[in-house]
Every structure is written in structure tokens, then in C-alpha cells.
């Protein structure tokens, strides 16, 4: 088996009690570590989309999607591996500021096209959207200012073009 890597699996589920637990539980008991799992409604109010990023060997990804398809509430499970896709994550980052660092942090935010959504004399909260790597890169720059708190949504993904995810 080759090295573990991150795989993205998009799962379309029916909105029913316990679905999230069923999906997350299946992943757990197959011994796979979850990087991120995001859930939200789709264009059809009776369904939700889960985007799951897991550590798994490439040849296991499709097998894992097959296991997910066995769940009765799972309508689709797509292993997005190599398919061109749009991947986004949103993060809120609350960082320490002083009068001396405020301008520098605002510059960082501007470079990353991030929005400043809250500001006090000691803190600044920045909203950033992008690929996970972009969020990570910005965090690296902000770390030396002292990150007080952070919340990330985890990755959401859609396949590019007319093809269904």
C-alpha cells in the first residue's frame, strides 16, 4: 500500500436524523482519519452535501466511496481524485493587534483578499476564503502576531464544468 494522502469525497445525503453520525461512524470504524468534514444543504432542500477530506491511500479512496454508498441515506458518494474541482474553505481568524502591527496585518489581509470583519484596539478578526493551502499560508504569516482564536469550515468542493460532483 502506498503512502497515505488526502482524498476528497463528496457525499450527497438525504436529510434524515442520524445521517451525519452514520457517515462519520462508518469512516471511523474503517480506521480512516478525517481531515475535515463540512455539511450544508444543497439546491434540493431534502438533501445535504458533505465534503469529507480523509487520509487514505489513493487505491483505497474508491473502495471507501463504495462503502459510503451502502448507507441507505447516501444518494451519491464521489471520490474526487484527479478530477478538476473547485475547493474552498472559509476561516475566521482572530489575531492580536497593536497600533504598531495593525497596518501590517491589514496588508497581509489585503494580499490574501481577506476581509476584516471585526476590529478592536487589541484584536482583529479576519475572514478568508480559498483553497486550504491559501488559508494555511495566511495563518503562517499571522502566527507571529499571536492568533487568539480560529474557526475553519473545512473544505467544500464541487467538480468543475457541467459534470455532477
Amino acid at each position: 500500500m502506498s503512502e497515505p494522502h488526502s482524498a476528497t469525497i463528496s457525499v450527497l445525503v438525504r436529510n434524515a436524523p442520524g445521517v451525519l453520525v452514520r457517515v462519520a461512524g462508518l469512516i471511523r470504524r474503517r480506521g480512516i482519519n478525517i481531515h475535515s468534514l463540512s455539511v450544508g444543504p444543497t439546491e434540493d432542500p431534502s438533501t445535504s452535501r458533505m465534503t469529507i477530506v480523509v487520509d487514505t491511500a489513493p487505491e483505497r479512496t474508491e473502495l471507501f466511496a463504495k462503502q459510503l454508498r451502502k448507507l441507505v441515506e447516501v444518494l451519491r458518494a464521489t471520490a474526487i481524485d484527479g478530477t478538476p474541482s473547485v475547493d474552498r474553505e472559509l476561516a475566521l481568524i482572530k489575531v492580536n493587534v497593536t497600533s504598531g502591527t495593525r497596518m501590517e496585518i491589514m496588508e497581509i489581509a489585503s494580499v490574501f483578499r481577506a476581509n476584516i470583519v471585526d476590529l478592536t484596539d487589541r484584536t482583529m478578526t479576519i475572514e478568508v476564503t480559498g483553497r486550504t493551502e491559501k488559508v494555511d499560508a495566511m495563518l503562517t504569516l499571522l502566527t507571529r502576531h499571536g492568533i487568539r482564536e480560529m474557526a475553519r469550515t473545512g473544505q467544500v468542493t464541487l467538480v468543475r464544468g457541467p459534470q455532477n460532483t
Binding site: R14, V21, V72
Partner: protein, 581 residues
């Protein structure tokens, strides 16, 4: 265990509370449940009542031909439902109350998912308004059973019961069969409703693929026809989909040798000349050698379990693998398939049998025959200590392989798998995947309820039998004719064997000081026979098989030093097979 039961069930001359006036079609949830079960064709339910399921039991009180069998432990209810389902092919049904009742079903539900057995478990739940409050006898049973059910649901209104239960039966028996649990709060069972019964099931995320892709089947047929050393490896899926006749037709048409998994025993008549019996850890040497040497391996309704494959990369190392399974997630799970076919075993084998051409495999058969003659299963029966294998061999001879043999788990299970040669599917029932001790006797009782006209015989070890033998009371109460052969070696035999082979003979907690099982049986009102000498074995087996109207426990005192061989040690390959002591 305390179960809330404050309302006396019988006699019931005066109901405690007048029934709600029956207005047009209005019934309570429990009555809707019973009616749904009737519409599903359920004839028998195994269970134990309790506080949260009392409304259901009240509805069962006048449920007419729908029989409820009161067992003494919920674990027995679920194993009996499994035995019922496996012997008959119908959906087995069991029921328990909330909390401890429901958690006692867990082992049997896990057994059913591992062996793909269609059962429906109905559990009581605490009333809706106290769910999540740690109420008396509350347990999150849908949460607990999520990983071991094909599907489960908590029904939150009486009107939903018919649909939920109908869907449960549909899910249990279609596609890859499995256990489904329906959890019904007590107040939902009491709530009045106008039930709507429907035969329709619409589950958007559930579409089992039953017909194999024709081009893949054609490729498989071609591969088999061109093979020089083909083998068919048939598992429990062949029996579950009633594909025995189709398998036989394919074998008769092609002459290809067949090996069977523990779950697949009986899929092909084991006296069929093409049948090599069981493969795997304790399979025959010739079955394992055949698979090891195969150039094409047709795997049907089997899942490359580690007890079959040993070290996976060394399993069938030279074979092109054709894998037929109704569950797409099984294909490529443990061993990559060169020709994957998703579909129902019966349908796929029917097409294959119709298209098949016989390969030229005379020299392959010559080789297999030589292996078979050189290394048959063998045992040594001396004058004083009874060989457990001798008992299994005698049972096979006395019944002609025509009885439904149900085993528990351990050494006796493997000896039965080696020596008992069922002539038809559904005639060998055992806990394969989960390996549940305590399974044998309850499952045999369930099988006998399912097939009262068949001879059913339970073969158990002294360890496993003591896990569920209290239900001799149930079998006696219902006049169940059931021989129970205890292969009594005074030990947890398989544990003892592993300790002897891999732990330097340090028998840590594996030796048992047993009761006299024959006298235990008599205390329950059953018949008991104790067998201590080899020459008594055959007569005792015949006497037990002829006993009518009560179970007959035959306590056979066996040689504790006997090991199950051949054996491929765990995680190793055919090359490491231990053939003899």
C-alpha cells in the same frame, strides 16, 4: 435484570383501561405494527416483553396465527431469528424491550450483519418525551446498533409504523441481506392512528444491482473456458440468494472443481464428485492446494475473509480472479478482481451456466484426485477416549447429511465443517463471520421452528452451550424435537488448541469444570444421555434423532487433547499449513 412488568398479561378478563372506541380504521401503533407484520407474512416472532414493549405485546395477545415464542434471554431471540432465516430463507423476526432488552440483541445483530442474514429486530423505546433524559431502561439503541445494522430507525409517530416496518423487511431481504432494527417508543405504540399500508417502497439511495453486466459475464465465461486449472470458490451468498441449482448447473456443465467457505457449506451437494469441501484455515489440504494452484478463480458470494485467505498476497497467487457479489463494496476490498461482476449470485450464475463451455482440465483433475487421496481428513478412534471427529463422522453417516446441522463456535464447529457433508443448501448453519459462542442451540431452535418437518440437529461445545442453555426451558415448553450433541472436552477447546500450539501449552483459563449436561437437560424436562465410551456413540445419536416432542441432550465426553487439523496458522499461507500432529 429488572424488567418493568406491572400489568399482568393473563388472565385478562377485565382490561385495565377500556380500549379506545374503534372508529373507522383507527388503531394504535402497536396494532398497526402487528398488522404490518402479518402483511409481511411473518408467522413467528422470538422475544421477551418488557415495560416499553408492553403495548406491542398487548397487540400480540390477539394476533391470531402470528406466534410469539417467549425465550429466556433476548440473545436467544435474535439467534433463533437468525436460525429461522437461514433455514427457511424468510426474514427472521425478534423483539425486545428498551434498554437492557435491546442491548441483549446486539451480539446476534452483529452476527447477522457479518453473515448477511435477513432479520428484523423490533425494539421498544422509552416514551418520546423522555428520550435523551437517561430515563429508566433507556439506551440509544439506534446509536448502538448503527455499525451493525444494514439500516435502523426510530419511529416517531404511529402513522409511520407501517411504512417503517415494511421498509425494514424490504431492506433486510433485498440486495445483500442483513439485519434492520426498528425502535418504537412506548407512547408511539399507544398512539392512535389511521394506518396506511402500502406495498410500495421508495428509497432513493438504495438501488441494488442484481443483473451482472453481460460483457463482464461473457469475459468470465471465456476465462473459465480457456482455463487449465480453474476453481470455483463459493460462499454464503450462493445460499442466501438460493443459487444452489444454478451453481450445480454450472459445475455439471463445466466440470470445474468447487471449494466452499464455511458459510457456503451445502451450496453444492457435498457428495458431488466436483465438490472439494471447505477451504481456509481448517479446510482440506486438497481444497487449499487447488486454490493455491488455480489459474482462474471464480469467486461467488464470498468476501475473501482472512479465515479463508490467510496472508492475502499469497492467496491464489497465480489466479485471474472473477468476483461475483451483490455488494459492490466487497469487490476489490481484500483482493483485487480481474473480472468484477456486481450482481445477484442466482442471476449471474444462471447466465454463466447457460453460456459456459467446458475447459479441458483432465490433468488438473488428475492432480486434485491425487491430493485428495493422499491427504484426506483423518482421525484416530481408539478404544477408550472418544474422538470428537468420530462423533461428527458418525452423525454424518447416521443422518446421511440430510439433517439441518447447526453448530456453535469452536473446535466442534470446525470438525463438523470437515466431517458433516450437507446434501443441500441451508443444511449447515453456523456463526461464520462473528464466531458467536452460544449461537448453536438457539439458532437450531429457530431453524426447527422454521422447518418443523426437517430433522434439525444442534452440535455444540461444552463452553458455548453454557452461554445459552437456559432456553432448554423454551424448547421443552414448545415441544421442540431437537437433538443437541455436546462435544464435551472439558475445555474452551479452540482456545486450548491455540494455547497448546502458540502459547507453549499454558492453559490460562481455558479448562472448564462442567455440570452433568444430561442431568441438566432432565432438570429442564428434556431428555439427557451421557456417552462415555466410543461404542455408545452411534446408538446415542440414533436415540437422540428419534426423540420426539422434547430436546435430547447427548453429553459426549471427548478426548481433550484432540486438535483441529489441518491448520493454516493465522496470517500465514498454504505453504505453512500444518497437516499432522
Amino acid at each position: 435484570m429488572a424488567r418493568q412488568a406491572t400489568v399482568p398479561l393473563k388472565p385478562r378478563a377485565v382490561p385495565l383501561k377500556p380500549r379506545a372506541t374503534p372508529r373507522a380504521g383507527r388503531v394504535n401503533g402497536a396494532q398497526a405494527l402487528v398488522e404490518t407484520l402479518r402483511r409481511e407474512g411473518v408467522q413467528i416472532i422470538f422475544g421477551v416483553p418488557g415495560g416499553a414493549s408492553l403495548p406491542i405485546y398487548d397487540a400480540l395477545y390477539d394476533a391470531g396465527p402470528l406466534r410469539h415464542i417467549l425465550v429466556r434471554h433476548e440473545q436467544v431471540a435474535v439467534h433463533a431469528a437468525v436460525g429461522y432465516a437461514r433455514a427457511s430463507g424468510r426474514v427472521g423476526v425478534c423483539t425486545a424491550t428498551s434498554g437492557p432488552g435491546a442491548t441483549n440483541l446486539v451480539t446476534g445483530i452483529a452476527d447477522a450483519i457479518m453473515d448477511s442474514v435477513p432479520i428484523v429486530a423490533i425494539t421498544g423505546q422509552v416514551p418520546r418525551e423522555v428520550i435523551g433524559n437517561d430515563a429508566f431502561q433507556e439506551a440509544d439503541v439506534t446509536g448502538i446498533t448503527m455499525p451493525i445494522t444494514k439500516f435502523n430507525s426510530l419511529v416517531m409517530s404511529a402513522a409511520e409504523i407501517p411504512q417503517a416496518v415494511h421498509q425494514a423487511f424490504y431492506l433486510a431481504r433485498t440486495g445483500r441481506p442483513g439485519p434492520v432494527l426498528v425502535d418504537i417508543p412506548r407512547d408511539v405504540a399507544q398512539e392512535m392512528c389511521v394506518p396506511e399500508f402500502t406495498d410500495e417502497v421508495t428509497i432513493p439511495g438504495y438501488r441494488p444491482v442484481l443483473d451482472g453486466a453481460p460483457n463482464q459475464i461473457a469475459a468470465a465465461v471465456k476465462a473459465l473456458a480457456e482455463a487449465e486449472r480453474p476453481v470455483i470458490y463459493a460462499g454464503g451468498g450462493v445460499i442466501g440468494s438460493n443459487a444452489g441449482p444454478e451453481l450445480t448447473a454450472l459445475v455439471d456443465g463445466t466440470g470445474i472443481p468447487v471449494v466452499l467457505t464455511l458459510m457456503g457449506k451445502g451450496a453444492l451437494d457435498e457428495l458431488h464428485p466436483r465438490c472439494l469441501g471447505m477451504l481456509g484455515m481448517h479446510g482440506s489440504a486438497y481444497a487449499n492446494w487447488a486454490v493455491n494452484g488455480a489459474d482462474v478463480l471464480l469467486v461467488v458470494g464470498a468476501r475473501f475473509d482472512d479465515r479463508v485467505t490467510g496472508r492475502v498476497k499469497d492467496f491464489a497467487p497465480r489466479a485471474r480472479i472473477i468476483h461475483v457479489d451483490v455488494d459492490p463494496a466487497e469487490i476489490g476490498k481484500n483482493k483485487p478482481a480481474h473480472i468484477p461482476i456486481v450482481g445477484d449470485a442466482k442471476r449471474v450464475l444462471a447466465v454463466m451456466a447457460a453460456q459456459a463451455r467446458a475447459p479441458k482440465i483432465e490433468s488438473w483433475w488428475k492432480q486434485i484426485t491425487e491430493w485428495r487421496e493422499r491427504h484426506p481428513f483423518r482421525y484416530h478412534q481408539n478404544d477408550h477416549r472418544i474422538s470428537a471427529q468420530y462423533v461428527c463422522d458418525q452423525l454424518n453417516k447416521v443422518t446421511g447429511g440430510r439433517a439441518v446441522a447447526v453448530t456453535d463456535v469452536g473446535q466442534h464447529q470446525m470438525w463438523m465443517a470437515q466431517w458433516y457433508r450437507p446434501r443441500a443448501p441451508r443444511h449447515f448453519i453456523t456463526s461464520g463471520g462473528l464466531g458467536v459462542m452460544g449461537f448453536g442451540f438457539p439458532a437450531a431452535m429457530g431453524a426447527k421452528f422454521a422447518c418443523p418437518d426437517e430433522t434439525v440437529v444442534a452440535v455444540v461445545g461444552d463452553g458455548g452451550f453454557q452461554m445459552t442453555l437456559q432456553d432448554l426451558a423454551t424448547a421443552v415448553e414448545h415441544g421442540v424435537s431437537l437433538p443437541i450433541i455436546v462435544l464435551n472436552n472439558g475445555a474452551l477447546g479452540m482456545v486450548r488448541q491455540w494455547q497448546s500450539m502458540f502459547y507453549g501449552g499454558r492453559f490460562s483459563s481455558s479448562l472448564l469444570r462442567n455440570p452433568d449436561f444430561a442431568r441438566v437437560a432432565e432438570a429442564f424436562g428434556a431428555r439427557g444421555i451421557r456417552v462415555e465410551r466410543p461404542e455408545q456413540v452411534e446408538g446415542a445419536l440414533r436415540a437422540a434423532l428419534e426423540t420426539e416432542g422434547v430436546p435430547c441432550v447427548v453429553d459426549v465426553i471427548c478426548d481433550p487433547d484432540e486438535n483441529v487439523l489441518p491448520m493454516i496458522p493465522p496470517g500465514q499461507s498454504v505453504a505453512e499449513m500444518i497437516l499432522d500432529e
